[in-house]
């Protein structure tokens, strides 16, 4: 069964009929429970929007300052801010849903997500690793684990993490290490982070 076939079945499913009498009583019951002397609170239409913006901007400035202040200390644990793929909630949910099965969560530059699973549930528990690889034309993002292989432009790349949280990528024609503090390997531009502190 494919997705359109499933969707067709789901949409054919009808609900039990609701009696007309029941349909008539709900509005009455809702109204009976409303306090007629107490209309719903109106939005504060008179509240100065400029004041709200000022508060908002001040809050943003404070948050940005705090984030900048702490960024040096938090660098290794920071989640790539622009990539929701690395969101701790998503990763935790996926790991809970498919324990020891996730080889990688991959996203191509079209935004399409793929879940690459092991059939046998043999993926050892380890901190998730965020990898973003770009060849100048295309980029792919992955959340994967040490010892797993990812495919980029037909090339198989093995992902390894060392005990100190460093990441090593081994392709057919290159080896890249986060310890070397360079973001390029061959024609690839690489970003890699250990998400352990974020997702575990």
């Amino acid at each position: 069964m494919n997705n359109p076939e499933l969707e067709s079945i789901l949409k054919k499913a009808r609900l039990p009929e609701t009696a007309e009498e029941t349909l008539e009583t709900l509005p009455r019951r809702v109204v009976a429970r409303l306090d007629r002397n107490d209309p719903p609170p109106c939005p504060a239409r008179g509240f100065a929007p400029r004041l709200a913006w000022a508060f908002g901007l001040a809050a943003c400035a404070a948050i940005a300052f705090a984030a900048g202040h702490w960024s040096g200390r938090m660098e290794t644990a920071a989640t790539p801010a622009t990539d929701s793929l690395a969101g701790a909630k998503l990763i935790r949910e996926m790991m809970a849903m498919f324990p020891n099965q996730i080889r990688a969560i991959a996203r191509d530059d079209g935004g399409e997500l793929r879940l690459i699973l092991s059939d046998t549930g043999d993926v050892p528990a380890s901190p998730p690793l965020y990898i973003r690889i770009s060849d100048g034309k295309h980029s792919s993002s992955f959340v994967t684990f040490s010892g797993q292989e990812i495919q980029v432009n037909g090339q198989t790349i093995t992902v390894l993490a060392d005990p100190r949280g460093g990441i090593i990528l081994a392709g057919n024609q290159f080896v890249w290490s986060s310890a070397e503090r360079t973001s390029t390997a061959g024609h690839f531009k690489i970003e890699a982070r250990n998400l352990g502190a974020v997702a575990m």
Binding site: M1, E7, L34
Partner: protein, 185 residues
């Protein structure tokens, strides 16, 4: 032109409700009760609980009516309240040892409980067996025709989380419903 989601009549009813006219709000309830009942029924699998949750959703919506800003459809806004109440209900039931959930799943699977046909009964029984967040993702995207983005806003989570929930739910539903006759696409 900015998208004004509420129709003129609807806007008038909302304005009148905000001014304390209960009959105006009753008219809104009449207009949307079938949709909200459908959402709460799909989420609970029980007509009684769906009825109670629909009533709670309309009461909650009344109390929050001042915060409806018209940027989304009124129906979408109502649906958000109903689905989140249903999820809260699920969490409460879950804390009570899932007795009710099991009962709902069992009754959805029993013949003669009001479903018009076998397919409808089987689909609801399958929905009842999904984890609540996956069920909510299916209800919003399949039955309420929301995009993943819209469903994410309704559920207060990332679009990718919705995508995964739909993906996982579809796989489970396919397994549970594989013996139902389906038109090959």
């Amino acid at each position: 032109m900015a998208h004004t989601a509420a129709t003129n009549d609807e806007s008038k009813l909302i304005e009148a409700s905000l001014s304390g006219d209960p009959e105006a709000y009753a008219a809104l309830v009449r207009q949307y009760q079938k949709m909200i009942r459908a959402v709460t029924f799909r989420m609970t699998g029980s007509a009684d609980d769906a009825e109670e949750l629909a009533q709670d959703a309309f009461l909650r919506a009344y109390l929050q009516l001042g915060s409806f800003n018209g940027r989304s459809k009124f129906s979408t806004w109502l649906c958000k309240i109903a689905i989140n109440l249903s999820l809260d209900w699920r969490r409460r039931e879950s804390r009570r040892g899932e007795i009710h959930s099991k009962w709902a799943a069992e009754t959805a699977g029993n013949p003669g409980n009001g479903f018009p046909d076998e397919l409808s009964r089987r689909v609801q029984a399958a929905l009842d067996r999904l984890p609540p967040k996956q069920r909510a993702a299916i209800v919003l995207t399949i039955y309420e025709n929301q995009s993943h983005d819209e469903a994410a806003k309704t559920l207060g989570c990332a679009t990718t989380a919705v995508a995964w929930r739909v993906f996982a739910a579809r796989n489970k539903l396919k397994r549970m419903l594989k013996d139902l006759p389906h038109e090959q696409s």
